[in-house]
Symmetry: C2
Subunit: 425 residues, 2 copies
C-alpha cells in the first residue's frame, strides 16, 4: 500500500442483522473508536446495517463520501450471509478474485483445528481486486485493505479478539504512517471524588486547547484524558508530561492509575508490590468484588479467598461475627462491617480483610436503613474500620448500587494501601 | 397524534460525541432494536453521530428518507451540546417554541430534587412546533413526537431508565396502534446442546416462514425466537402455541425458560419451588457464579453462601477437601470438584452444593491440564458427582472460559433439579 493521502477522518460500519435486531450489543465499534480517538483520527459517524447487499453497498459509499478511512466489522465468514468483501467490490467497482495466500491460510487454519474445509470455506479467499490482505492469526477470515478514490477501506471480522489483533497489527501502524505527526493520549484515573469537584480543581486544564484534557465520569470513577499532537511521539510525550504532573500534584490523593488500569488491578498491583494477601467478605455485592478481583489474570498471587455470607448464620459461622451484634445492630451496620472484614482476615490468615454489607434493593429497605445504604469494612493487623456509603441517589438499580459499592470498596482499600489519608482518618 | 401512516420500518439514531469517541458503549440502541423487532417493525439501520448540528440534521433527514419511524436517543439535556430537538426542528423546517407543560415539568422535577432551575434548564421546554410531548416521570427531559412528511420522529433521552420508560409508555403503544395486526414473539432458551445439533432437530421450523423461528447462540446457550403476525394478539398466540409445543417436545430436556429467563434465574426459580437452599464453592470462576446468582433480586431466599477458595489451603480449611487428595489429583480434578461441592453443602447445611474448579488461563495450563479444563461438582444428600468440561476451543479469553464455566455449572444444577437426565447419568 503506497503512502497516499493522510488519514484525518474515519467512519465505522458494523455489519450484521443480529445487531440490527438487538440480539448482539456491538462492542467492537466503541473499541475501534477509542483506538482511533487515541490516534487523533476524527470520527464522524458509526453505522450499523444488516446482511443485505444493497444496504451494505449504500452504507459503504456514503461513508466513503465523508471519511478518509472506512473500517467495517463483521460479514467476513464463509456463509451466504457474509457479504462484506463482495459489497466492497460492488461499492468500488472491482471484480472479486481469489487470493492464493488467503486460500492457503484457510487450509492452514483448518489443519490446525484438525478439520477439513468445505468448498464454501474458500469463499474466504475471495477479495476485491487490488486488495492488500490483513493477516488474521486467530481465525480463517483475513481482512481487506483497499484504496479507492480518496478513501481507504479496511474490512475486519466481527469476532472481537480477531478484529482487535488485526487492527493493532496492520491497520493501526498504517494510520500512524499516514497521519500528520503523532497523537499521544494519556488517561489518568481517579476515584473517591465527584466529577464536578474534581473538574473544579483542574478547570484551567479543561479549558486549554493543547494538550486537551477531557473528563468522563461513571460509577464513582472519573477519568481525565490528556491528548496532544506533535511532530514525533517523543515531543508529544514531552508536552503531556508537565500537564500530567501538575494534575497529579493537585489530585494525587484520588489518583489510582493510568490508561487500562482498573480499581481492582490497582489494588492487585499494590498488594503484589507489598507481597500482601487479601480475603473478602461480601454480603450485598454477592461475589462481585471477588469476580472483579479474579478477572485480573495472576490474581491468585494475592487473593486467597472470598466468603460470600448472604445469610446471618453464614456471617456468624464463617466470619465469627457475634450473634448478639447481628441482633443488636443488624447485618447492615458499622460493627458488622468491621467484624466481617476482621473475620475474613483472621480465618484466611491474610494481611488484609475487605468487607461489604448493604441493601442493594429493590426490596429490603426500611426508613432507617434505606436501599443504597452500604458499609465497607477494612481490617489489617493494626486496625479495623468501616465507612458508610449512601447510594440512594443512584438507587435506580440493584446493579448500579452493587457496582458503586464495589468501586468504593476497592478504592477504600487502595487508599488504605497507599496510606495517603492515614492522617485524615 | 392522528392515526396516519402505518409504521413498518424504523431507524435508530444515537446522538452523542462520547459514543463516537468510544467512551460509552451504546446499549440503548440494542434495547430499542429488540423492542422494535418484537413489534414486527423492520429495522434497516443504526446510526451514531456526535453533538454536531449539521451532522445531526443530515442524519435525521437521511433516516427519514428510508424509514417510517426515526427514534433518536441522547442530546435532550440542558447544555449547549444538547442539540437533538433543535436539529429536529431544522430537519423538518419547524420553529422552536416553548411548551408551557414542559416548563412546568422542569419546575416540578426541580422541586422534587429540592433544587432551583437555572435559565438554561428551561431549554428543555423548547420543542419543534407541532410536537406532541413524551412524558418523562424520571427526569427533566421530555421527548418529542413529531410527524413530518411520511415519517414519525420520536426523540428520547440517553439515560437508559428514562428512555426505556418513555418508549414503553408512549412510543410502543403508538407503534402498536399503527402496525397492521399484532406481532407476537416468544423466546425459548436452551442449554447443554450446541447450536448446530439443536438446529438439526428443528430444521423444519427454521425453514418455515410463518411463524418464523430464528436461532441465536452464545456462551453455551441457544435461543429460539418464534415470531408471527396476526389480526389480534390472541390469534398470534394461537399460531405460536403448537410450534412452541412441538419444539419443546423435541428439545425439552435442554429447555430452561422463556423470554427474559437466564440460567441463574431458572436455577433460582427451581430452588424456590422446592424450598431448597444452595451453597457455592468456586475456584477458577472466582465469584462469578455467586455474582450472577445474586444479580437476581430475592436470591437470599435460596442462596446461603459462596466460598471462593482461590488457594488450596482455603479448599482444605473451608471445604474440608483432604490435603492428600489435592496433592495426589491436583485442585483441578474430579475428586476435588466433588469434595468441594460436598464440602460447601455440608458446612453451609444447604440442600445443594455446586462447585467449579478449572484453569481459566491465560497462564497455569500444562499439557495434562490445559487452559480450558474445568470440573463442575454437584452434591445433595443422595449423591455427589462431577462433570468435565473442555473449553480449550473457546480458550481465547479468560473471560469466555469463566462465562462458559458458569453457564455449564448452572445448567448442570438445573438439569439435576429437574432430574431430566437421572437415567442418563
Amino acid at each position: 500500500m503506497q503512502n497516499r493521502k493522510n488519514i484525518n477522518s474515519a467512519e465505522i460500519l458494523a455489519i450484521g442483522t443480529e445487531m440490527l435486531l438487538g440480539d448482539l450489543v456491538d462492542t467492537n465499534t466503541a473499541w475501534l473508536s477509542r483506538k482511533l480517538a487515541a490516534l487523533g483520527t476524527g470520527i464522524y459517524r458509526h453505522t450499523t446495517v444488516g446482511d443485505n447487499r444493497e444496504r451494505i453497498v449504500a452504507a459503504l459509499q456514503e461513508a466513503a463520501s465523508r471519511a478518509d478511512l472506512v473500517i467495517t466489522t463483521g460479514g467476513l465468514g464463509p456463509t451466504s450471509d457474509d457479504l462484506t468483501n463482495e459489497c466492497l467490490a460492488l461499492a468500488t467497482g472491482r471484480k472479486m478474485v481469489e487470493y492464493p495466500e488467503a486460500r492457503e491460510h484457510v487450509d492452514e487454519m483448518f489443519r490446525r483445528f484438525g478439520r477439513k474445509p468445505t468448498p464454501s470455506n474458500y469463499k474466504q479467499a475471495l477479495f476485491p481486486e487490488g486488495t492488500q490482505l490483513i493477516p488474521n492469526p486467530l481465525g480463517t477470515a483475513m481482512g481487506a485493505l483497499l484504496e479507492s478514490g480518496d478513501t481507504l477501506f479496511a474490512t475486519l471480522p466481527g469476532v472481537p479478539p480477531e478484529m482487535m489483533g488485526m487492527f493493532e497489527e496492520t491497520v493501526e501502524p498504517l494510520i500512524r504512517s499516514r497521519s500528520e505527526g503523532a497523537i499521544v493520549s494519556k488517561t489518568l484515573w481517579f476515584a473517591g471524588m465527584g466529577e464536578s469537584a474534581l473538574a473544579e480543581r483542574v478547570q484551567d486544564f479543561l479549558d486549554a486547547t493543547d494538550p486537551t484534557v477531557a473528563p468522563l465520569a461513571g460509577q464513582g470513577k472519573v477519568r481525565l484524558r490528556i491528548t496532544t499532537r506533535a511532530a514525533t511521539p517523543e515531543e508529544a510525550e514531552e508536552k503531556i508530561k508537565p500537564v500530567a504532573e501538575e494534575i497529579l500534584s493537585r489530585l494525587g490523593d484520588y489518583y489510582f492509575g493510568e490508561d487500562e488500569e482498573t480499581l481492582e488491578s490497582a489494588v492487585g498491583r499494590l498488594l503484589k508490590e507489598r507481597g500482601a494477601t487479601l480475603a473478602l467478605a461480601e454480603s450485598c455485592t454477592g461475589g462481585l468484588l471477588a469476580k472483579r478481583l479474579t478477572d485480573v489474570a495472576g490474581s491468585s498471587a494475592y487473593f486467597k479467598e472470598g466468603l460470600i455470607t448472604y445469610s446471618n448464620e453464614s456471617k456468624e459461622r464463617l466470619l465469627k461475627v457475634p450473634h448478639e451484634m447481628l441482633v443488636e445492630h443488624g447485618a447492615v451496620s458499622e460493627p458488622v462491617a468491621e467484624a466481617m472484614a476482621e473475620g475474613a482476615r483472621k480465618v484466611a490468615e491474610t494481611d488484609y480483610g475487605l468487607s461489604v454489607t448493604g441493601i442493594a434493593g429493590p426490596d429490603g429497605g426500611t426508613e432507617e436503613k434505606p436501599v443504597g445504604l452500604v458499609w465497607i469494612g477494612i481490617s489489617d493487623s493494626e486496625e479495623t474500620f468501616a465507612k458508610k456509603l449512601n447510594l440512594s441517589a443512584w438507587s435506580r438499580s440493584r446493579e448500579a448500587i452493587r457496582e458503586r459499592s464495589a468501586n468504593a470498596a476497592f478504592d477504600l482499600l487502595r487508599q488504605h494501601l497507599v496510606e495517603v489519608r492515614s492522617g485524615a482518618r
